[in-house]
């Protein structure tokens, strides 16, 4: 089977608008979670989130901005980074063999909310003419295809919190089966609008703001965890058929060698140990790997009571006794839950861990939970590690479980 090289990485995320800045802050244990500014802070019970320091006006002209929801703005900048990092010149490629896969849960949430506000709150007919084009969930993927002339497959996956993990996995599959040579794959989410936050609050699944330190409110695996914290951002990777990458002299970050996809069918939100276990096993099987090969797990680790306990149990099923010694960390403790973009962001982080031999910590794990008793790399990053294979989990409302595996390029 054809192999998939990861040749470019790009992020616009809480804690960093490029991979270096993000990773440096993660290793330092800094948190991008904060109290949201007014007016959000005045109307929400738990006004916390993980925003990105990003102004679209610095990247796009005024006419362009009219057509781009924030989600697409974030994505276009992150994708451009990945392309630059890969030193890809699409003019030199067969563009019908290049495609795009994007994962997003909400698409253009800000545009959608503005439109409803115009119609229902202002009782006006003046909905912006670009609303549909900016809000539609495939807008981001479409603009990437247009901007770079990529006329191969152009797909958008929306499977809630696993959307962009699915996007990466499906992109890799297309390269493996020979349809394409290059795929731009990633995810984007810009959910920090009042309506979206209010809807999530209604589910009682968001973290309670820590009164002393809002930045510590997301506590994966801790006994004191109270829920997840929403974040915004985008992350993209350039994926290439291995020989194609080698032939053009590309620098290969790692190999995307495993992808497991299963579904929990028991409940619309409640995760299942069986589903998560199966997804991890499927990823290992697709990579031809034994669980003993995994050196680090970037957990889904949302900070909800249910996910963290179930994921811990699933890790024990997969790894057996070794589950207690494989380092597992949730970087959501620092960058929040980017929903549709989470899978891609965390995979980029996992690949960077591979390259640098550093495992970022799970922060704010000050009080252990008896049901969560693994090595979560609490409080401090580990450096100087020999990492050859990493596994990244993404488990979603609706039940789509997606697991990705990356292996070091150095072994080839």
């Amino acid at each position: 089977m054809r192999r998939v090289a990861i040749t470019g990485l790009g992020v616009v995320a809480p804690l960093g608008n490029c991979v270096d800045e993000l990773f440096t802050n993660l290793v330092a244990g800094r948190s991008g979670v904060c109290r949201l500014a007014a007016p959000l802070s005045e109307r929400l019970r738990s006004p916390i989130g993980a925003p990105v320091q990003f102004d679209g006006r610095a990247h796009f002209s005024a006419p362009r901005l009219r057509m781009l929801d924030r989600v697409s703005q974030l994505a276009l900048v992150a994708a451009a980074q990945a392309i630059a990092d890969a030193r890809l010149d699409f003019a030199a490629e067969r563009r019908e063999r290049c495609g795009v896969c994007v994962g997003t849960s909400l698409g253009g949430a800000e545009t959608t909310e503005d439109g409803y506000h115009t119609v229902y709150a202002e009782h006006s007919d003046r909905v912006k003419p670009y609303s549909v084009l900016a809000a539609m969930t495939n807008a981001t993927a479409s603009w990437l295809g247009i901007d770079y002339g990529l006329s191969g497959p152009n797909l958008t996956y929306s499977t809630a919190c696993s959307s962009s993990a699915v996007a990466l996995g499906e992109a890799a599959r297309r390269i493996q089966c020979g349809d394409v040579d290059i795929m731009l794959a990633g995810g984007a989410e810009a959910p920090l609008t009042f309506g979206v936050l209010r809807a999530w609050e209604a589910m009682r699944t968001l973290a309670v703001q820590d009164p002393q330190d809002p930045s510590s409110s997301c506590r994966p695996f801790a006994r004191t965890r109270t829920g997840l914290v929403l974040g915004e951002g985008a992350a993209f990777v350039a994926l290439e058929e291995w020989d194609h990458a080698v032939a053009r002299g590309a620098m290969i970050h790692a190999e995307l060698s495993g992808y497991g996809l299963t579904t929990d069918v028991t409940h619309i939100t409640r995760p299942s140990i069986e589903g998560q276990t199966s997804a991890m096993r499927a990823a290992l099987c697709s990579a031809g790997l034994h669980p003993d090969a995994i050196d680090y797990v970037n957990a889904h680790g949302t900070g909800t009571l249910q996910n963290d306990a179930v994921e811990t149990a699933a890790l024990k099923e997969v790894f057996g006794k070794r589950a207690y010694s494989v380092p597992v960390s949730s970087t959501k403790s620092m960058h929040g839950h980017l929903l549709g973009a989470a899978g891609a962001l965390e995979f980029v982080i996992a690949v960077t861990c591979l390259e640098r031999g550093i495992v970022p910590p799970t922060m704010h794990l000050d009080s252990p939970d008896a049901a969560c008793d693994l090595d979560y790399v609490a409080g401090r990053a580990r450096t100087g590690m020999m990492l050859r294979t990493v596994l990244s989990n993404s488990f979603a409302f609706g039940g789509t479980n997606a697991v990705l595996i990356a292996q070091t390029a150095a072994r080839h």
């Binding site: 002209s61 005024a62 009219r66 057509m67 003046r126 003419p129």
Partner: protein
């Protein structure tokens, strides 16, 4: 201020253009104002000129001057229209 100058001010603000770019014969599409952009501009024209534009979607507005003529045709009759009596004597 003339209709042309007022329209130019709108486009300068919304599209970050210069007055020199907005000569009467300048092509709107070349300035980044596409068909959807025109629809959005209609809202601002209504507000700025105090007129109500018809619901039809004019397709012959290709240059800055085309829009000026369009506005002027609508402004004159709407300003001259007699007040409709609200009560009979």
């Amino acid at each position: 201020m003339s209709t042309l100058e007022t329209l130019q001010d709108l486009l300068i603000r919304e599209y970050k253009l210069t007055r020199e770019q907005l000569a009467p014969d300048a092509q709107l599409s070349a300035l980044g104002v596409d068909s959807l952009g025109m629809l959005e501009l209609m809202f601002q024209i209504e507000d700025r000129f105090g007129i109500t534009l018809p619901d039809d979607n004019p397709t012959n507005l290709l240059t800055v001057n085309d829009v000026v003529v369009y506005i002027d045709k609508l402004v004159a009759p709407q300003r001259e229209a007699p007040m409709t009596p609200t009560c009979t004597p």
